[in-house]
Symmetry: C2
Subunit: 348 residues, 2 copies
Amino acid sequence: MKPTLQDVANAVGVSRSTVSNAYSRPDQLSAALRAKILDAARRLGYPGPDPTARSLRRGFVGAIGVLFTSELSYAFTDPFAVRFLAGVSQVAEQHSTSLLLVPLPHDRERARAAVDNAAVDGFCVYCVGDEEHVLGAIRDRGLPLVTTAPATAGPADRFVGIDERAAARSVAAHVAGLGHRRVALLGDTVLPDAPPGPLRLAAPGDAPRPTTHGRLSGFADAFAAVGVPWPAITVVNAAGNSRAAAAAAIAPVLAGDDPPTAVLACSDVLALGVLDAAGPRSGLSVSGFDDVAEAADAGLTTVRQPAEEKGRLSAALLLEPPADPADGHVLLPTDLVVRTSTGPVPRS
Amino acid sequence: MKPTLQDVANAVGVSRSTVSNAYSRPDQLSAALRAKILDAARRLGYPGPDPTARSLRRGFVGAIGVLFTSELSYAFTDPFAVRFLAGVSQVAEQHSTSLLLVPLPHDRERARAAVDNAAVDGFCVYCVGDEEHVLGAIRDRGLPLVTTAPATAGPADRFVGIDERAAARSVAAHVAGLGHRRVALLGDTVLPDAPPGPLRLAAPGDAPRPTTHGRLSGFADAFAAVGVPWPAITVVNAAGNSRAAAAAAIAPVLAGDDPPTAVLACSDVLALGVLDAAGPRSGLSVSGFDDVAEAADAGLTTVRQPAEEKGRLSAALLLEPPADPADGHVLLPTDLVVRTSTGPVPRS
DNA sequence: ATTCAGTGCTGTATCGATTCAGAAGCTACC
DNA sequence: GGTAGCTTCTGAATCGATACAGCACTGAAT
């Protein structure tokens, strides 16, 4: 087998501790002896202190876990998630801390096992869908935790996010202000296992995903304010957060009789899919959410939330815990970005 | 302190082994006893077997390291890298294996330390620039290794990539076939620390980065074949793989007298930057490399290489080592994709 | 000559689990 | 009744390092 620290110690004729010091605390021994030890180590083919053993003894790992409550590839597929990760990685890099991306099986038991097996000093959870059991598993391990979904943040958890409802209200108010009254709201997996297309949702709050919940509620608020009651609004479900899924979901609605004059989507990606389906110059007003890079190119009206900043803060909250726990909950600002994809109701 | 497995064992009055079995090998004890143990564990607040200790004892970790030989945020900034990661994550997910993204300090000594400290079962190295010392550190640890840069792959290493030179030759031949003779080649960090803008490069092979090296060589091949010698070609250096850096680097060249009629970039991102700088309908022919999503929208002529497949194969080579070591080196196919960004030389 | 501080190194305890050979108890069958 | 064969559980050894108290020695100050 591979030589261990002990073998090197034997070869040189010193104690294990000294060899350990040669690697980790060079100031604790003479330069000459250190050179001799490193030399012997090289000769023996000693690969250096084992990181696992070192972590065990030291009591910390030097890595934080990043969890996406969905397929791991979501993290690299969704443009907003990618920028979030970019932010996380910047701060991690400053702290010489690694990022452990843990794939989360759908099966609850296996998901818990995945959390339990992750060798990390804390978790950063990017909330996509239903994550309560994941958060529970993390809390059970007693590890520090930062989430991006407000409703789910426990008292000891740190949190960074936006006021989803108010942000959604701001775009919706803009659209309502343009005169739209026949509107559709488009979300990803509004209800679990719901088929793509229009959906019956008794109240916006019935959507289990916290972000969807918040955004639909905000949309509803703004339309209620101009006299459009919830039941008069069409809710459309997309089977996934992708342009294709959005286009497929919205197509029947646009083709139906009495189609909406505006579609408010819960994400830019979905909104872009609506534009794909509607075609340019259709007169349909479309709004998105997040303000990803593609939104600007497409002239999409949307709500900007600071993606990288969200990631940076998440990591910072984990790696530089605030002295005052009250500072552990951060609400980021959002901005309504009006572009060309929304306009007045066509006369026709 | 937190209770350990031993504490649970004491509480229930069984041996440590039995508690361990309750967690990891449920078939080794009666259901009744197992329930009793898990119950006691819950009561005591035992967080479950410590992943670090478990890894130490078991001898493996259940994670693979992913290294970018540049800032970690590059991984999330460059669209090609993102898709590569998406591929890696898909296969990792199938194997219930986590991904450890390790930030690599520029300082060589600290970079080695970062590699040495990573608790992983193997490494996947996405080669951006100079990585020889990083690969050396990994080999010294005796861990399996997959790289994406051919020149640097040691005999025992696995490798997945493309024939950079032949791929580059194919776009360049296309551009040459359109009649272009006054051309510029644009690369990111062609020489370390070189300023942005035109550059003196004695031979394509003098570029230290292996991919740049390969691509410039391929470009040179194709132009040599139509009688344009290397010294007649302008090589331009961009300070970073971004649109902005590319635009800044190419601007003086386009503004100079005797500007090129075509620019061949070493990546799509750079090519898009050239288009930004040149403006639409400039008559300038521009080609890219990789075929990222944005390339299609911009009508960019480019060489497609299968990004996700590259990632998937990298991970697969690590997680399902081929029986025959000869299968450890994979060369992926590339395709010339001709779009509207290249055309005949304008008369003027 | 004696104390003191400082350097350089050693030994032992410890981190928290897994592994595996084997003991104990229990059923079953000839 | 004895032995074989299970299932269930135990104990000791082990994984590979780090932390810390303490010992021996050196050189300077008292």
